[in-house]
Symmetry: C2
Subunit: 280 residues, 2 copies
Amino acid sequence: MRVFIAGLGLIGGSLALTLKERGTVEEVMGMEVSEERAKEALSLGLADRIVPFEEGVTTADLIVLATPVDTIPMLAVKALNRVQKPQVVIDLGSTKGELCEMIDQHTRRSRFVAVHPMWGTEYSGPQAAVKGAFAGRTAVICERERSDEDVLQMVEELLRTLQMPVIYMSAEEHDLHTAYVSHISHITSFALANTVLEKEREDRHIFDLAGGGFESTVRLAKSASSTWVPILMQNKYNVLDVLREHIHQLQLMRRMIERDDTTGLREVIDRANSIQRIIH
Amino acid sequence: MRVFIAGLGLIGGSLALTLKERGTVEEVMGMEVSEERAKEALSLGLADRIVPFEEGVTTADLIVLATPVDTIPMLAVKALNRVQKPQVVIDLGSTKGELCEMIDQHTRRSRFVAVHPMWGTEYSGPQAAVKGAFAGRTAVICERERSDEDVLQMVEELLRTLQMPVIYMSAEEHDLHTAYVSHISHITSFALANTVLEKEREDRHIFDLAGGGFESTVRLAKSASSTWVPILMQNKYNVLDVLREHIHQLQLMRRMIERDDTTGLREVIDRANSIQRIIH
C-alpha cells in the first residue's frame, strides 16, 4: 500500500512512523507547508519522499489529511476531485461538522471517511511524531453510512493495525462530545497558565512551588495555537456552550467561597468526585 | 526517635511509611478520628499503635499534625500547651496564615515549625498512603525565624531524610503562592468535572471519547471535600483573587471566540505556551 499524508506533524507524522513500524506500507509520500518542515520530516524518517499534493493524491492508495482543521475541508474537496476507485481519502482532524458539510454533495463522497483518532500530546510539528502512537485509544468514524463498503473496510483494517477500537457517530454528535471532553480542557489549561503567568509579572517566585497537581492541569497549555485556533473556531458554538457552563460552575464555587457556604462547597466537590466512575 | 502523627491519611500515613522504611524512627504512634480508620491505619502498618492525643503529645520526640487544615491551628495550640524542650511540633498542612496567627504569641511558639511538603495525590485516607512519598519535591518552611535552632535542625534533618529540598517564606507568601499553583488547579478541576457531569445527565455517551487530555485536567477532581473545603476556606481571600482572575481569562477567550478574533486567540494561546519555561 502507498500512503500519501498531507501534514507530517504530531498526528500525520506519528501515523507514518507507526505504519512503517508495523510494515503495512510500502511507501509513504508526504506534504508539508514549508521547505524547512519538509526537510525535518524527511530527516526524521516520517516520509520516503515529499511530493506535491497533486502527485500524492493521484498516485497513493490511501490519502490522509492531517493538517490544521481549517484547511481540511478544502483539501478534502480537492482530493475527492482527483481520486479514482479504489483510492480512499481520510482525514484525522478534531472537528467534523464543517468538513462533512463541505463534502456532503460531492459525487465521490463515498470514497471518503472522516476519522478522529482520540490520541495526541501537547507537542506539535514533525519532531513531535512518535512511534507506536494511537494504540489502545478510541477512533471515531463519522457518518459511516456515507462511505462505500470497500472504503470502510480498508479504513477499519488500518485502525485495527493501529490497535484502535472504533466507535461511530454523526458529525454533530462528534463535535458536541469533543467540545466537552477535549476542547474545553484546552481552554481551561490556556486560561490557567495565563492566570499564573499574569501574576508572575509582579511576583517572580510564584512558580517556586509549582508541583504535580499544577503540572497536570496546565500541561495542555503547551499546545500550539496553529492547531487550536482552527479547532476552537470550527467548533465555535459547541465550545461557547461548554465554556458558558464551565464559567457558571466556577462562579457557583466562587459565590460559595465568598459566603462561607461550606455545605454547598462540600456538595459541589462530592459531586465532582463521581468523575471517578469515568476516569481511573 | 519516637514520632506521634495526628492524622494517618494520605500525608500523615505516607510520612509514617516512608520514615519507617528509612529506619529513622523507633516507634510511630498515631491518632485517627474514628475507630474504623484507626484499625485501617494499624492494619496498613501506618502506626505501631494508636494513642490518645494527650499521650502522643507528651511522649513523642516529634509531634506531626497532618489532619485537615481547619483542625490544625487548634491542635497546634493544644500540642504546644503540653510539650517540653526538646520536643518538637510540626504541621504538614496546605495553608499557613491562620495557623501562624493562632500560635503567634504562644510561649512555646519556638518549638513549632510550619512545614508544607509540596507532594500529594488525588486520593485520601489511610489506604492512600504510599511508601517513598515526598522525595524530590520541595518542602516549604514558614516563619523559620520563629523556631529555635535545635528545632529547625531536627526538622531540616527530617526533610533531608525525605529527600526534600527546603525553601523558606512567610506564611502570607506561602498562602498566596499555593493559591496560584495548587488551590486554583483543584477548583478548575472540580468545575470542569461538574461541567461535563452536568451534560452527562442529558447525554449518557458524553464520556465515550474522554481521553488523555481530559484525564489530566480533571484528575484532581477526585480529591476529597474533607481535605479541600477547609483549605479553600482557610485561604479564602487569596483563592477568591485567583479565581476572579481565572474567570476573567476565560471570559476573555470566550469573547474572542464569539467575535472570531483569531488574532487575539492566537496571542492568548502563544502567551500560555510560555508555561513551558516552568513545567517540563
